[in-house]
Amino acid sequence: MRWGIRGLSLRNSERLLGIGLLFPTVALIVAVVLYPMISTLWLAFFNESLLRPNDPAEFVGLDNFRRLVTDGEFWKVVKNSVVLTAGAVAGEVIIGMIIALAVNASYRGRGLFRTLNILPWVIPSFVTAFVWVWLLHPQFGPVNAFLQLLHIIDEPIAWLSEGVTAMISLIAVYTWKGLPWTFLVLLAGLQTIPEDWYEAAKVDGASAWQMFWNITVPALRYVLVIVLVLRTIWTFNSFDMVYLLTGGGPARATLTLPMQVFTAGFREYNVGMSSAIAAVMVVLVVLLSLIMLRVGWVEEESQA
């Protein structure tokens, strides 16, 4: 241990350097993430207007939360968020799994294929929203034209102007945008499963369906849990495409929690309410991830 500087042992000087190099990162995260996060949870117990920043905030205890719980509209917003998230994540995982199984081990132009398919995930969300508003346009949109061509619908549908079809459209667009990521992660998981396992199962006369449930799904358990947790959290937290595609409308039919946090804070200037809704969101996000991680772990124990 001769390399220590100024009489410090190597161990100690490495520790100091480690802390020193990490310090800017930690300081930044504390200042722009941790402090604001705690601050929001704190502000949820106060009544304060963003328009009068100099007025002292008034402590109101659980009043903001009480108002939320007794407000029927708020529960509709929670329901919208859950429906959108569940619909989009289910769509992504099911379709993503189908494509991943289809292209695994057999597809030739894989490089180009993957590169092109990544585009929906990386283009700006405002671009996604623009294109889909046009695709779904009642008069000129190709979606209606295509569905009418196939005689699935007789009359053009004003997708984004009716409550139910607006929600379906949002789910479809979120599925479309999230699919590349889900697909790539599932495919990466599939490629770690040894081909021998399937060969052995085939020798034993297993059907494709049996192989899927008894080999693929158990082997992908961790990957599936990660995909479900992350996609659920990201979709649940997503603000921009709801804002751009429907603005929460028509008649609040697609209003989600992040939209509501924004509206309460920056349209109604109600700091307390906005923070309280954000606090509820955090609780729901934590609960959702705990449930899903627990499901993954319990299965792990029963398998062992």
């Binding site: 993430v33 030739r108 590169t115 990386v122 623009f130 190709p142 920056f266």
Partner: protein
């Protein structure tokens, strides 16, 4: 062996076709956007699906309208400043932090690393009001610097994790050899590790750039006048005022041009992009 491979391919052909069909669905909206920006508007008013798939005529009018619009160029410049600034700050801070987490042992390092990953799942709306107050206090409202500061909230944790796993993939012998030759740990980092990490750092930087380029919510709250708006806010408030077909063609042109840097990055990164994305990249 070759015969086996051939049989497999033949058997898997229907599945490959399904894959192709679904990837067509994935790419079609983007194709539609690009075609929409260079087609005569009549194409779309006729609702002729064949013509949308294989356009017969191209016009440059709508593209030109956007590309020579000083307002659009201002948005693009602002986006470029903010995305570049965010990338530089994040990489500078996160490279040091990631190296520390990957190589140096000290109490609490592991816990801090995990916490940094968790901050990547924090909803941006949760930070909105306190960040707004900070920005107003620092007198940075309606200023591009406010965006760079607030974008580090997602960019730094993201870079930290990509770079940490990159440093972990480098053999430890590299620094040890340099240190045996008399270099200090810090010297080894700057003269040996960082030059070797250029590919990983560049890939991470490009990811950070994509995140910042696409960001919508903070830009919506922290910028109000068009001289400081970035593309997502600027284009979505400026180019959809009317609902005529010509306006839509112009909107498609603006969308296409706004996505050009992303297309370029996708082409540069290719395989690296897929690897980075499966490592938990680019938040949706």
């Amino acid at each position: 062996m070759r015969r086996v491979a051939k049989v497999l391919t033949a058997k898997h052909r229907p599945r490959a076709l399904l894959g192709l069909f679904l990837s067509f669905l994935a790419v079609f909206p983007i194709y539609f956007m690009v075609v929409g920006s260079i087609s005569p508007v009549e194409t779309f008013l006729r609702r002729d699906l064949g013509e949308i798939l294989l356009p017969r005529a191209f016009v440059g009018d709508h593209m030109a309208v956007v590309a020579f619009d000083p307002v659009f160029l201002r948005f693009a410049l602002n986006s470029m400043i903010v995305a570049t600034g965010t990338t530089f700050v994040s990489i500078a801070v996160a490279t040091l932090g990631a190296y520390s987490l990957a190589r140096l042992r000290f109490p609490g390092g592991e816990v801090i690393g995990r916490f940094a990953l968790l901050t990547y799942t924090v909803p941006s709306v949760l930070l909105l009001i306190p960040l707004f107050k900070i920005v107003v206090t620092l007198n940075l409202a309606n200023n591009l610097v406010a965006l760079i500061i607030t974008y580090t909230t997602f960019s730094v944790p993201f870079c930290l994790w990509l770079l940490r796993s990159y440093f972990q993939s480098l053999p430890r012998d590299l620094e040890e050899a340099a240190m045996v030759d008399g270099a200090s740990r810090l010297g080894a980092l700057f003269r040996v590790i960082l030059p070797l990490s250029v590919p990983g750092i560049v890939a991470t930087a490009l990811f950070a750039f994509i995140l910042a380029w696409n960001e919508f919510l903070f830009a919506l709250v922290f910028t109000t006048t068009s001289d400081v708006k970035t593309l997502p806010i600027g284009v979505s408030t400026t180019f959809t005022a009317e609902q005529t077909a010509t306006d839509w063609a112009v909107a498609m042109s603006a969308s296409t041009l706004s996505a050009v840097p992303i297309f370029i990055i996708v082409l540069i990164l290719q395989r690296g992009l897929v690897r980075g994305i499966t490592a938990g990249a680019v938040k949706g």
